[in-house]
């Protein structure tokens, strides 16, 4: 499981193995301030990170870099 959270310290403290920081609580995988094409690109980047996390071996709760 790839767990995306805007407050990653919560899932890390709860023992979630693979955690990805999102952009913000109110727009986790997006940013309304960006033009639509740029926002889409941002979401693709984050989603790609989430998928990449799934392919990595982890031994303990691990915070992956979002970029």
């Amino acid at each position: 499981m790839a767990y995306c959270s805007a407050i990653p310290s919560i899932p890390i403290s709860m023992g979630v193995p693979r955690v990805l920081p999102g952009i913000a609580v109110t727009h986790l995988l997006g940013n309304p301030a960006l033009p639509p094409a740029d926002e889409r690109e941002l979401r693709e980047r984050l989603t790609a990170r989430a998928l990449a996390m799934l392919t990595e071996q982890v031994a303990k709760p691990t915070l992956f870099p979002s970029a």
């Binding site: 959270s5 609580v25 109110t26 727009h27 995988l29 979401r43 982890v58």
Partner: protein, 348 residues
């Protein structure tokens, strides 16, 4: 007039027999049976054990769907003011049976229910908060104090007297909090607790910190192009109009939506009811927490094997850890049953 008490026992304590009779169908006996005699003694003249329902543990475990209603109807027939189940000590099936009978009686009859379980009895986990469970020892050697505890708390409930805190009264915490005035202010109590800690003395936290699990990380996915991926969210995305009535906080349910044929989460079809954050950006574009637009494209391009057609969604706002644990398990089982090999979970 004395209060009427109905008692629930398993086949062993009810005098039918041991394991070989664990499949026994429920039967109704008049008056107290087995440990019911001690219960009657502890209750005194204020309450009378008017009848006892005895049922095999396996029968209840394996056929709860028809056995439980049968037991509840027998209990209803006794017109009880209080229902007592057990004590079940550390016996797993018996404890679960007492917990199930207790919860069903609470729902169907609304009368108080008292049972007695050891603290680690499986029946104690996820116990209906309306069922009061005296903390019993592991075996029947501890029957007397357990039954005394059930009688004492049962009489209190019958008389409408408030129960004291769980650790004082000796029952399994129900999660219920009661406001009361303390002698000292929070600041004073906090400093006192700190000093005790510094002096290495015993202290009791006023807030019980939930215990989290040690989660064994799943092995990595080998090949995303061969993987069935599921999407789960606690961000509160629901169908427009919220037809399933998902609560905006302390949500009691998960919803499952078919994503079949959808290329993205449209704001016309989906909205957000999470009450813990300003959700207008998600309402305007639900892909911001459910990245279906990206994942669908990648599925078409073969970057992921298949996106499972179901979206699991709930509101993760002020959800008690115990609820989250229980429902999380249920959803995890569903994901497994659906053949999903990896999951993206978005939590705000």
């Amino acid at each position: 007039m004395a209060y009427r008490v109905a008692h629930y026992l398993n086949q062993f304590f009810g005098g039918i027999g041991g394991e070989e009779h664990a499949g026994a169908a429920p039967i109704l006996r008049e008056g107290p049976v087995g440990p019911g005699a001690v219960l009657q003694q502890c209750l005194g003249p204020a309450a009378a054990v008017v009848g006892t329902v005895v049922c095999g543990d396996n029968r209840m475990a394996e056929r709860a769907e028809d056995t439980l209603p049968e037991v509840v109807e027998m209990i209803r027939g006794l017109r009880p003011d209080l229902v007592v189940a057990g004590p079940a000590f550390a016996a797993g099936r018996y404890g679960l049976a007492c917990a199930m009978v207790g919860a069903s009686v609470r729902r169907a009859l609304g009368v108080p229910v008292v049972t007695a379980l050891s603290a680690d009895n499986p029946g104690a986990a996820g116990l209906d908060p309306g069922v009061i469970a005296v903390i019993a020892g592991d075996t029947a050697v501890t029957a007397r104090p357990a039954i005394e505890g059930m009688a004492r708390l049962g009489l209190k409930l019958l008389r409408g007297e408030p129960l004291g805190p769980a650790d004082v009264e000796g029952y399994i915490p129900t999660g219920r909090r009661v406001n009361e005035f303390g002698e000292a202010s929070g600041a004073e109590r906090m400093v006192e607790m700190l000093l005790r800690r510094l002096r290495r003395e015993r202290f009791t936290s006023e807030v019980v910190v939930p215990r989290f699990d040690d989660v064994t990380p799943a092995p990595p996915v080998r090949d995303l192009a061969e993987t069935v991926l599921g999407i789960v969210t606690t961000s509160g995305v629901v169908r427009q109009g919220n037809p399933e009535g998902v609560e905006s906080w302390r949500a009691t349910k998960w919803v499952r939506y078919s994503l079949a044929g959808l290329d993205r989460m449209s704001a016309e079809e989906y909205t957000c009811v999470h009450g813990g954050y300003d959700n207008r950006h998600v309402r305007a574009d639900p892909n911001r927490t459910v990245p279906l637009d990206v994942l669908r494209e990648w599925e078409k391009r073969g970057r992921i094997g298949r996106l499972h057609e179901v979206l699991w969604s709930t509101v993760g706002n002020v959800m008690p850890v115990e609820w989250a644990r229980q429902r999380g398990r249920e959803v995890a089982q569903e994901l497994r049953d659906a053949g999903i090999q990896a999951v993206i979970l978005t939590a705000t």
